[in-house]
Amino acid sequence: MIPAGGDPRAPAASPAPALADEIPMAPVPPRPRGNPRDRALWLFVLPSALVVVAVQLYPVAYAVYLSFFDQYLGSQDADFVGLGNYAALLGQQRVWSALRVTLILTVSSIAVEFALGLLLALGLYKLTRGARVFSTLIFVPYLITPVVAALFLRWIFAARWGLADSLIAAAGVFPPDWLGSPVWAFVTLVVADVWQFTPFIMLILYAGLQGMDPSLVEAGRIDGASGPRLVWHVILPALRAQIFFVLAIRLMDAFRTFDSIYVLTGGGPGTATETMTMYTYTLAFRQLEVGRASAMGVLTMLVVTGLTLMIVSLVYRRDRGAF
C-alpha cells in the first residue's frame, strides 16, 4: 500500500547499498545524541508538516483570532473585546455545567472503553483460533457512519418502541427512562460511546500486541510474573506508545462528541447532558455568535491540552520526557 522506495525525495547521503537481510544481529554501540542523521529525518517530517501548516494553520489561527472579537455572523463589523468573551463565558453557570457534564461523560466513557478494549485485545491475543473473526465482528460498530450510529442506538433506547425498552417491558420489568431521567441519560450516553469506540481501542492495542516482541513475555514468565502481574509489568509498558495514543485520541474525540448526544438526548433532559461542544455549536449556529463560540473552542482546547499532559505524565510516569 505504501510506495516503498519509490519516493524521489530520498536524501541520498550515502550511496552504499545494504539489504535488510544482511543486518548483523550483533549488539551495536549506542548512537551519540545530536547525530547529523536527525537533520535528514526532519526532511521526512517536511511533507506532513507542510500539509498541516498550509491547510490547518489558517483556520485554527483565525478561530483563535476571532475569540477576541464580539463577532456576530450576521454583520460585517466586529468589535475587539480582548478577553471579554472569555470573561463572559467563565461567568456563565451554563459553561461550568457543560464542563462538568463533558468531564463526567469523557472520563467514565474512556475508563470503561480502555478497560474493555485492553481485556478484549488480550483475549484476542491469547485466543488460539478465531481471533480474526472476533476482531472483525467486534469492530463493526466503529464502521457505522457516525451520523447514523446514534440513530441506531435511538432505535434501541427509545421509550416504548425501542428494542431494549420493549424487551425489558415484555419481561415484565418496568424499564428505566433511558433518555429522560438525568442519571439514566448519562448511563445511556456512556453505553453509546462504549459501544462505538471500544473497538477502536481494542484494535490498536491488539495491533500493538501483535507487534510486541514475544520474547518479552517469555522473559517475564521466566522471571515468575504471571496473569495481572505480567500484564502490568511487561505488557502495559511495552504498549505505552499505543496506550498513550488511544487515550489521547479518545480524549479529544470524546470532548468533541456531538452527533450521538444531539440525536440521543439533544442535551436533555433540560440541560442535564449539554456538553461543551454542544454549547459551542449552539453559540455558533443557533446564536451566530462566532466570537464567543471561538472563545469556547479555545477554552475546550486548553482543557483538553491540560488533560493530555496529565495522561503523558500518567503513562510515562517512570521516565519523563520519553513519550
Binding site: 427509545a158 416504548r160 433518555l179 429522560g180 439533544g266 436533555g268 433532559p269 433540560g270
Partner: protein, 423 residues
C-alpha cells in the same frame, strides 16, 4: 409515495450521465464540472419532508432551459449550510427554503434579495395577488417581501376518534377539558397526550401554552412578557400536562411522537399538519382512519410558512430565478401538492373540491385563524434558545417555574441588549 417515484424517474437521465462521468475516472471529474449546453444551472437547498420533495421536483421541471440541482436535508443541517454559505457571501446557493424565523433573520443580515420589484413586474403574469396575505406576511420583513410562500404549516389537535367515542368524551375545547381527557385515557400502554419537547419541539409546545394561556413571548418593544403572571400559569399548565405524557417525553421529537400515534400508543396531542397524512398511511400506521383533528384548545398554536427565497449573493439572473419560483408555485402545482401540505394560494385554499377530498381541510381554517405567529424580529430564534432552555428546566422540575422564567427574562434582556435591540 408517488412523489418519490416521480422524483426517481426524473433523475434517471441525470444519474446515467453522472455515472458515466464517474466511470470516466476521478481525474475527469476533478477538472471539469459537467455542464449541458447553454443551460443555466441553479442550486436549491431546502428541508427534506414529503411536501417539499414534491415541490422540489416541480422546481426541477419548471423551466426546460434551467437545470435545477436540489439538495434536501434536515432542518439543523440546512441552517448550518445556509449560515456558513450566506455569512461568507458565497454564491454556491442560489435559491433556498426559509421559514418565518430564518427569513426575518437572514433578511436583517442583508443576505436575501428583496422581491418587491419582481412582484410588481410579474403580478399579472403569475397571479401573485392570489397568495394569502398571512402567508406573504411570513415571507416579509420590515415591509419588504423576501420570499414566495410554498406552504403554510400549523399544529392541530390530533386525537383518537375511536377511543373518544368509546368513552363518550367530546374533543376538548379548553385546557381544563384537555387535561381531563388526557387524564382519562392515560395508562402505561397509551399515553394521555404526546408532548414533543426535544430540540426545537419545546419552542413550538411552549409557544402554544404561552399564547393560549399566557401573554405570548415578547411585547412590541421586544421586552419579555413570557414571565408575566399568565405566562407562569401557562408553563405551570404545561408542567402539569407532562403527568400524562409518555415515558421519555423529554427526548421525543416529532418523529417519536408520530410513531407513538401510529402505533396506537398515544390518545391525543399536538401534531404538525404536514404529519397528519402519515396517520393514514398503510405502510406506517396501525390507526388508519381512527385519527381525527380539531383546532387546538384555546388556540394560539404556532403557524408558520415555508418560503422560497433568493440569495443576495447568487450570480445567476435574479429575474430568471424569480420566474422559476413563481412558475413552480402555480395554482395547478399547489392543487396537486395539497395532498401533502396546506397551499398558500387563496384560490386553491378555497377550492371546494379539495375541501371535500382532504380530511384535515375541515379544521384548517378555524385553526389557522386561532393560531399565532412567532414574534417577528430577527433575533427571536436566537433568543428563544436561551428562553426555551429555562422552560425545559421548569417543566422537568429542575427549577421552580417562576424562578426559571424570571431567570430566562433576565438572560433574554441581556442577550438582546448586547445585540443592540434596545436603542
Amino acid at each position: 409515495m408517488d412523489v418519490l417515484v416521480r422524483n426517481a424517474a426524473g433523475r434517471v437521465g441525470r444519474r446515467k450521465r453522472l455515472l458515466a462521468a464517474a466511470a470516466g475516472g476521478a481525474l475527469a471529474a476533478l477538472v471539469a464540472v459537467p455542464q449541458a449546453g447553454a443551460q443555466t444551472t441553479v442550486r436549491f437547498v431546502g428541508e427534506r419532508y414529503p411536501a417539499l420533495e414534491f415541490y422540489a421536483e416541480k422546481l426541477r421541471t419548471a423551466m426546460p432551459d434551467v437545470n435545477v440541482t436540489v439538495d434536501l436535508m434536515p432542518n439543523a443541517q440546512l441552517k448550518e449550510l445556509q449560515t456558513i454559505t450566506l455569512s461568507s457571501g458565497a454564491d454556491t446557493i442560489d435559491i433556498f427554503l426559509g421559514n418565518d424565523l430564518t427569513i426575518a433573520n437572514f433578511a436583517a443580515n442583508g443576505w436575501l434579495e428583496p422581491l418587491d420589484p419582481y412582484i410588481e413586474k410579474y403580478r399579472e403574469e403569475f397571479d401573485l395577488d392570489d397568495f394569502a396575505s398571512t402567508a406573504m406576511a411570513s415571507a416579509s420583513y420590515e415591509g419588504k417581501v423576501y420570499g414566495l410562500p410554498v406552504l403554510t404549516n400549523t399544529q392541530l389537535f390530533a386525537y383518537r376518534q375511536d377511543l373518544f367515542e368509546e368513552k363518550g368524551i367530546e374533543p376538548p375545547t379548553t385546557f381544563e377539558e384537555y387535561e381531563a381527557a388526557a387524564a382519562a385515557f392515560h395508562s402505561p400502554a397509551v399515553a394521555g397526550t404526546v408532548m414533543t419537547l426535544k430540540g426545537d419541539g419545546v419552542l413550538n409546545e411552549a409557544h402554544y401554552y404561552l399564547n393560549a394561556i399566557g401573554d405570548g413571548w415578547f411585547d412590541a418593544d421586544k421586552r419579555p412578557v413570557f414571565n408575566s403572571e399568565n405566562g407562569v400559569r401557562a408553563i405551570e399548565t404545561m408542567k402539569a400536562m407532562t403527568a400524562y405524557a409518555p415515558r421519555g417525553y423529554t427526548a421525543n421529537g416529532n418523529d417519536e411522537s408520530t410513531i407513538l400515534f401510529q402505533q396506537g400508543a398515544a390518545a391525543m396531542g399536538m401534531q404538525w399538519l404536514t404529519r397528519t397524512a402519515a396517520m393514514d398511511r398503510e405502510d406506517q400506521s396501525r390507526v388508519v382512519g381512527k385519527m381525527m383533528w380539531a383546532p387546538p384548545p384555546g388556540g394560539g398554536q404556532v403557524v408558520v410558512a415555508d418560503s422560497f427565497a433568493i440569495s443576495k449573493f447568487s450570480s445567476r439572473d435574479k429575474d430568471l430565478l424569480f420566474r422559476l419560483l413563481a412558475t413552480t408555485l402555480s395554482a395547478d402545482n399547489q392543487r396537486e401538492g395539497a395532498k401533502l401540505a396546506v397551499p398558500t394560494r387563496v384560490s386553491v385554499l378555497q377550492d371546494p373540491e379539495l375541501q371535500q377530498r382532504f380530511r384535515y381541510y375541515g379544521v384548517l381554517v378555524p385553526s389557522l385563524e386561532a393560531g399565532a405567529n412567532f414574534p417577528k424580529f430577527p433575533e427571536f430564534k436566537e433568543v428563544s434558545e436561551v428562553v426555551t432552555r429555562r422552560i425545559m428546566q421548569a417543566v422537568t422540575g429542575e427549577m421552580p417555574v417562576k424562578e426559571a422564567l424570571d431567570t430566562a427574562a433576565a438572560e433574554a434582556e441581556e442577550f438582546l441588549t448586547r445585540r443592540g435591540v434596545y436603542k
